[in-house]
């Protein structure tokens, strides 16, 4: 799998008074098996960018290459692409429509052209992977709790066995426990399936904990593209963009300013505790 965005720009409603530029000169490569975090303030172009990854939007200028093929090419099958790049939208539970959970998850693989049996097998695996128990399989998706609905919706995309799984704010509107559950689940899925994951979020904590690499967007452009600890060194710049480094990093930075010898590159609580303990010799 290889996914490359080359000088991609996108303009909404070109040629009307509602014209607005959403992306400007985006260059990006998504590597195999990578956990990529995409962060940015509301309106920074994150959601527009992810829709380019599976061809729902085509760049106004520039190219998107999937396995070396330009997705804007009329010969290129975007339907096939959508099976390989699974996109989970914001509030994915709003897309559920079938009479029962199991058939809803089957929708994707059946559209991919699989036989009913194969589709059911994939749906079963996906539902198990997101932690939905058998007892819910034949219930109406509308009777489930918010967190369960969201997991069913994610399973609906997962069942297509994508090579890249893109999630647009999968934790929006969930409580902290629900959030940890979803993110932990994603991390496990990535380990099990070896697929790449692109996680869109505006919560630094979410991204810092799991991502190998972070892309920071502001006003339609990529500002930073590096490992979490490198990106969060620029906490002042992030703050100017309406973002914040994780609480841990900010706390450590304060300690450092007060003269304590702590490692400010820590981005999650576990490492943070370790470096503080070390500093105090506990």
């Amino acid at each position: 799998m290889s996914m490359i965005l080359n000088h991609v720009s996108y303009v909404y409603n070109p040629g009307t008074p509602m014209e607005s530029r959403a992306l400007t000169d985006i260059n990006l490569k998504i590597n195999d098996g990578e956990f990529l975090g995409l962060i940015g303030h509301t309106g920074s172009g994150k959601s527009t960018l992810v829709q380019h990854l599976n061809g729902l939007l085509l760049p106004t200028s520039g190219e998107v290459y999937f396995n070396g093929a330009d997705i804007s090419d009329p010969e290129f099958s975007r339907k096939e692409l959508r099976g390989k790049v699974g996109l989970v939208f914001q509030y994915p539970e709003h897309q559920l429509f079938e009479a029962d959970v199991f058939s809803d998850v089957c929708f994707g693989p059946i559209n991919k052209g699989l036989s009913k049996k194969e589709a059911e097998l994939k749906a079963f695996t996906a539902l198990k992977q997101v932690g939905i128990e058998d007892e819910y399989f034949y219930q109406s998706p509308f009777d489930l709790s918010g967190g369960q609905k969201r997991r069913v919706a994610i399973a609906g995309v997962l069942a297509m066995e994508p090579e890249v799984l893109v999630l647009d704010e999968p934790t929006a509107g969930l409580d902290p426990a629900g959030r940890d559950e979803i993110l932990g689940m994603l991390s496990n899925i990535q380990k099990d399936r070896g697929c790449s994951i692109v996680l869109v979020s505006h919560s630094m904590e979410d991204v810092a904990e799991y991502a190998d690499r972070i892309i920071v967007m502001n006003k339609g452009s990529i500002v930073f593209d590096d490992t979490p600890s490198e990106v969060f060194k620029f906490s002042d710049e992030l703050e100017n963009m309406g973002l914040r480094a994780p609480e841990v990093t900010r706390a450590l930075k304060k300690l450092k300013e007060e003269g304590f010898n702590v490692d400010v590159s820590c981005v999650n609580v576990r490492d943070g505790v370790e470096t503080i303990s070390k500093c105090f010799g506990i």
Binding site: N13, T16, P17, Q51, N54, L56, K79, R82, G83, G86, L87, V88, F89, P92, H94, Q95, L96, F97, F107, G108, N111, K112, F142, G156, V157, M160
Partner: protein, 266 residues
């Protein structure tokens, strides 16, 4: 996709037409529509065309943008023209099999085409230059005399403004759900009619669910803020007539007079 339908979507520029009182525009649209049906010969359409051209150029809305909206009714237009062309009885000009084209048929088809397209352009000018809020304000105030007959004018206007308010939201929602289902491999374009209709289920079910959810939330939010109908309710920006509105009324009456005169004379 769906956003391309421009039929009547407000076009935000500042123009003489945009600044008019919504009541004037509502009345003007009505006068224009009536005038199209009063006219029974082609001469009568000359003032109508002149009127339309003046208003369009005053409104500063690009003509191309309006025509783009016409595409939505193209099918309807063609259908009625073709029906009229073959249905009318009279002097046969050309015929094959059981169908025949008559002189009268051509005439009614021509009228129909002009009337329908003028009708759509005329009414879309109103919605292109008036925000939905203004429009319902205008309706409420303009029809307030009906209150004497116990017509719930305020409630109707409120329902209308809510309905109009929800159109863009539902369009956006449709777009979003469509994209979400396309991301799961749904195909809304190919296949025969039955397959196409069936492919709409994954779109319509979530759309209805969300429409009901939104309606519920809105009703709750309105009640929480003490909404209890129009009695004693005041407006932040009450509608007031200005000098330009008086001029517009004058122009409208002159136009209507001209149309009636043409009808009587010719």
């Amino acid at each position: 996709m769906l956003r391309d339908i421009t039929l009547g979507q407000y076009y935000p520029v500042d123009s003489a037409i945009h600044r008019l009182d919504p009541r004037v525009k509502l009345f003007g649209t009505m006068v224009f529509l009536v005038s199209l049906f009063i006219t029974d010969n082609f001469i009568g359409y000359i003032p109508a065309i002149a009127f339309l051209i003046t208003v369009i150029s005053l409104s500063k809305v690009p003509f191309k943008y309006m025509v783009k909206g016409m595409r939505a009714i193209l099918f309807l237009l063609l259908f009625s023209v073709i029906c009229n062309l073959f249905m009318a009885r009279g002097d046969v000009i050309f015929s094959f099999w059981k169908l025949s084209i008559t002189k009268q048929g051509i005439k009614t088809a021509g009228f129909m085409a002009i009337r329908l397209s003028f009708l759509v352009i005329g009414s879309s000018i109103m919605t292109l230059t008036t925000t939905p809020n203004h429009l319902t304000d205008g309706l409420e105030k303009g029809l307030s005399f009906l209150k004497i007959f116990k017509v719930p004018v305020h409630d109707i206007a409120m329902m209308m403004s809510i309905a109009l308010r929800f159109i863009p939201i539902l369009v956006e929602e449709t777009d979003k759900i469509m994209k979400a289902q396309m991301a799961r491999g749904a195909d809304f374009e190919s296949g025969n009619l039955i397959k196409k209709v069936k492919s709409l289920i994954p779109l319509l079910v979530p759309l209805f669910v969300s429409a009901f959810r939104r309606a519920n939330d809105l009703a709750m939010a309105m009640e929480a803020r003490g909404y209890r109908g129009g009695d004693g309710r005041t407006k932040m920006k009450p509608l007031k007539y200005h000098a330009n509105d008086a001029v517009a009324y004058l122009v409208l009456f002159v136009y209507l007079g001209a149309i009636i005169a043409i009808r009587v004379i010719f």
